[in-house]
Amino acid sequence: MLTRFNRTLSKIVGLAMVCCYPTLGLAAGPSEPAEVVTFRSSVNEVRLVFFAKDDHNHPVAELQKNDFAVIDDERVIRDFRSFNRSSMMKLDIVVLIDSSESVLPQFKKEMGQVLQLISHGPWSEGDSVSVVAFSGMEARVVCEKVCDSALSGDHTKYWTTGGATPLFDAVELATKLIEKHRRPDVWPVLVIFSDGDDTISNSTFKDALHSVRAVAAQVYAIDLGRPGLPTNGTATLQNLAYESGGRWIRISDGASTVFNSVIDDLHSAHVVTYKLPESVSEFHQVQILPTRNLKLQFRCRRGYYSTNGTQKEEGL
């Protein structure tokens, strides 16, 4: 009886060995290359940061989920997965400073104050700030994420004033930084101090706008150009700000005041998420409109890219 049992057992073990052999062989074989496991996931949620103002142009503090609807690629969306204040999110701010000759001599002192603000800024835990300067032929990263020590001393060493203004290249560089730091719970913001007159970039305005849309960053464009003189630079800055749901502001009140107002604005934002609607087009145009009070005004980015039901960018 025992012998018969042993024979049966040995058959089972043998069969198991045969079945497992290919797997064992693959795992143990030294000549086989290491297996690459790729996890693929579909992101089917849109996250939209937006600002609500009343008829007196004041931020609406007590906004409710049913006070607004999102128009996404012509569809009216009222069914939201979540709705929060933006204070729940961490900020990833990249400050771009035009240090070209046309701008910096005039604003050198003010920029110094801005950098002081950044280094001792009103940031919450988890927020990060990077600084990119651009002039001459290139845009360069002054400091990345940790700027306290980099900006606490003499700032003049960062300014290599001269000639041309590679604004679009600087925007591309900034979006690459954002892409590098990207996390789903982080809200990317670009604060651009410039006159907007790009003179040398390899990238075009279209490239810069595409990159801004791809990382879903909000652009605050601080116009250093002369007031009263409408220029192409002003139009460029206005477009970047408008398309991204940010703001275009003249520096007339002083750089540090303007920078503080940007920070206040960021803290008044709301965040809504909803299921990505099916669409034939990759670019979804978005707009927010009121459901009851037609005096409410909403500001958000103008659109985002999606492909095959998978949102390329996580849609902040």
Partner: protein, 162 residues
């Protein structure tokens, strides 16, 4: 003076109030909205001989798809800023070949030109067909969608061994 103001207010608010009391409002939901050509809404003599109040061809006007129980209406605003509150349910009525939407906050009705009227069942069928077409074209772009539709992959996350 007060009497005059009261009379004016009554005159302005009367149609809406009467309609509400008589209960002639239908209920509907706006499901789509986009900015379209204003000229589509203003045709005929008004365009040909329209005065300065007629919108220019460059201006865009809001176009809404409004669903009631039995009919789907495509309506167009008269100007770029003529908005409908996008609440879950809005009250509207048909009046002189136009569609009047009740706007609670403004205490008045906003009038829209009717561009199209489709029987609701037909509209639903069209939407279903469009969605199916979209799914097919999506599947053609991404083979993993076909696998999902065929039940080959039940989970959203797929693991692929290369």
């Amino acid at each position: 003076m007060k009497k005059v103001i009261f009379a004016i207010l009554m005159w302005c608010g009367l149609p809406g109030m009467l309609a509400a009391q008589v209960g002639i409002y239908q209920h509907g939901t706006v499901v789509r909205m986009h900015m379209g050509d204003c000229m589509a809404a203003h045709h005929g003599l008004m365009v040909a001989f329209g005065g300065p109040s007629a919108p220019s061809s460059q201006e865009s006007c809001p176009e809404y798809t409004l669903l009631s129980n039995s009919v789907a209406y495509v309506i167009v605003g008269r100007s770029s800023n003529q908005l409908i509150p996008l609440a879950e349910e809005i009250d509207f009525r048909l009046h002189n070949n136009e569609l009047a939407v009740r706007v609670d906050d403004a205490k008045h009705e906003a009038r829209f030109t009717i561009k199209e009227m489709i029987v609701r069942a037909e509209y639903d069928r069209m939407q279903q067909r469009m969605e199916e077409q979209m799914r097919v074209s999506e599947a053609q772009k991404d083979p993993s969608v076909i696998r999902q539709q065929m039940g080959g992959a039940d989970e959203q996350q797929q693991m692929r061994l290369r």
